[in-house]
């Protein structure tokens, strides 16, 4: 059949690949390199600045016994990881982070889901959520400590309040920006109520929701660090406790080691969210193939 043939021909012409004859192995290697080199460069830059600062002898700190350069600093980080309490402190802090963040996601999803479904609530609560988002979480600590005392609950409370608004807002924005055309198509297909949410509105809002989760993580991590510094709990060994100890003993080298650990955890988790975001956008054809 002529039409049939022509149509298939046209399909094949339109789908002809962009002419990449590269082998899988070399493609992976090239990709790994593109991903790696900016990070290596960033680390090198940080080390160079650190060394320059050290060499500049600012305020004569080099003469002080607690000043340190990158070589001694990294040595100290390694020692603390291998023999000190840093690893167990990281474990404690990450555990609080995971629990706090998970609760924040739960609260954010429930609040965001309810608010986006009920228009009057939307008008009333929507601006409160945004207001909460802009409120510095450290301002919540007096309130939390009065309510919960110097406990882990106080810290968790602030972590949840820090992260949940971003997550709720991400979900609400995603629901709001579900393309009306897709909604019409979904209704024509007979998707109603729960099915409409399950198969259309939630998947459509996923990119915005993940963006909210990512922002929520940043807030959660900051709140947690502030919390661990402000709320010192007896017998608990967290990154905040270590950092406080270093401050009291004027141990700059050790403080830097802990800070590097905090920074690295933040960067790694942020990287995971970026990966998730890229995967979603790639799946939906929202990435320019020339760049990706």
């Amino acid at each position: 059949m002529a039409t049939d043939q022509a149509l298939h021909g046209l399909d094949n012409l339109e789908l002809s690949p962009l002419g990449s004859q590269e082998s899988a192995a070399s493609r992976i290697a090239r990709k790994a390199w593109t991903v790696t080199w900016p990070k290596v460069l960033a680390v090198v830059l940080v080390l160079v600045v650190w060394q320059l600062f050290y060499l500049s002898n600012y305020h004569g700190i080099k003469a002080d016994h607690y000043a340190t350069g990158p070589v001694a600093g990294l040595q100290n980080l390694w020692d603390q990881l291998a023999h000190g309490q840093l690893l167990s402190a990281i474990g404690t802090t990450l555990q609080s982070a995971v629990v706090g963040y998970a609760l924040a996601v739960l609260v954010g999803v429930i609040v965001g889901g309810v608010v986006s479904r009920i228009p009057p609530l939307r008008a009333a609560v929507g601006s409160i959520i945004t207001g909460l988002q802009t409120m510095p979480s450290i301002a919540w600590f007096p309130f939390a400590i009065i309510l919960f005392g110097l406990t882990n609950s106080a810290i968790l409370f602030v972590v949840i309040l820090g992260a949940a608004p971003s997550i709720a807002n991400g979900l609400i924005a995603g629901v709001d920006y579900t393309p009306p055309l897709l909604l019409r198509a979904g209704k024509m297909m007979g998707l109603r109520r729960f099915a409409l949410w399950r198969y259309l509105i939630l998947p459509a809002s996923l990119p915005s929701f993940v963006a909210g989760m990512k922002q929520g993580w940043a807030f959660a991590w900051r709140s947690l660090m502030a919390g661990e510094l402000v709320v010192q709990i007896a017998g608990s060994l967290s990154l905040g406790v270590l950092l406080n100890g270093d401050q009291q003993q004027l141990d700059l080298t050790s403080a830097i080691s802990v800070m590097i650990a905090i920074l690295l955890i933040g960067v790694v988790v942020d990287g995971l969210f970026t990966r998730a975001d890229l995967a979603i956008r790639n799946r939906r054809g929202l990435l320019d193939p020339a760049i990706a």
Partner: protein
């Protein structure tokens, strides 16, 4: 038939709802619009989009609707689809299932082509085992076998529109509403899809209401072409196109009809020029 007010207007059949009422037998129109008016309230002014449009579409008929901008073509289809209610008048599809296609494919970008089609079956509660076979058949119908796993963005515009057609067919529609479905495609692809659409409609005895502003397309595809005026939309012309064997976009018959349609449209546009 009388003009009923909003309250008395029976709700247009909900798409996707099970057609409990038996489909009208034989002679009655598949789609019947009687004196349908639609007013959009925009702030202080009311916009009359459709003014007493009456139109009866026979089962299996292919009706093209053309008109200049602002003639309420899309409004008309929304009313028949049940996505919107008329301000006055009656829309009756006799319990038939209605499918709607847009100028954009409106596929769900997070699903593969196959899953997009399958979801339409799922929404109609077709059992899982049956769904896969029917999805395969539907993709075969639009000649996209082997593309089930591709995502919409990996397909060309014409292929996406064919997936959208397969999805509309998955709703087991007796009446297919098409809102400029090929408007964004290149001429070569469009010609091929005209042939394909004709074949599919014949195979399934579909009733089609096809909105376009391309007079050649209307003359090529329609058994009947309805010309709508602009602001408000009313029927100002009706042209029967005799079926004399296969038609081509470049045949003289189509060209003559297209010329007549163009003249009628220009006359109407000129009315708004003063």
């Amino acid at each position: 038939m009388s003009i009923s007010d909003t309250q008395a207007t029976p709700p247009a059949p909900q798409p996707g709802a099970s057609a409990l009422s038996a489909v009208d037998a034989g002679d009655g129109p598949a789609v019947n619009l009687s004196e349908v008016s639609k007013v959009y309230r925009t702030g202080r002014t009311d916009l009359l989009a459709l003014d007493k449009v009456s139109l009866a579409v026979r089962p299996g008929e292919f009706v093209c609707i053309i008109g200049a901008s602002g003639c309420g073509k899309s409004t008309l289809l929304n009313l028949v689809a049940g996505l919107d209610r008329p301000t006055a008048g009656m829309v009756d599809t006799g319990g038939r299932r209605v499918g709607l296609m847009f100028q954009e494919p409106a596929l769900f970008p997070w699903l593969s082509a196959g899953r997009n089609v399958e979801l339409a079956l799922q929404a109609r509660k077709v059992p899982k085992a049956e769904r896969q076979a029917r999805t395969r058949d539907l993709l075969e119908t639009v000649r996209l076998r082997g593309f089930a796993d591709k995502r919409p963005h990996e397909l060309s515009g014409g292929m996406r529109q064919r997936v959208a057609l397969a999805r509309a067919l998955a709703q087991d529609a007796d009446v297919l509403l098409m809102d400029e479905p090929f408007g964004a495609l290149d001429a070569m692809t469009r010609d091929l899809l005209h042939d394909e659409l004709e074949r599919i409609c014949a195979e399934r005895t579909l009733t089609v209401m096809f909105v376009t502003h391309n007079v050649r397309e209307a003359a090529r595809l329609g058994d009947r072409v309805i010309v709508l005026s602009s602001r408000p939309g009313t029927v100002i012309g009706e042209y029967e196109v005799p079926r004399e064997g296969p038609r081509r976009i470049d045949s003289t018959q189509v060209a003559h009809m297209a010329a007549a349609l163009t003249d009628r449209l220009r006359e109407e546009m000129g009315r708004h020029g003063n």
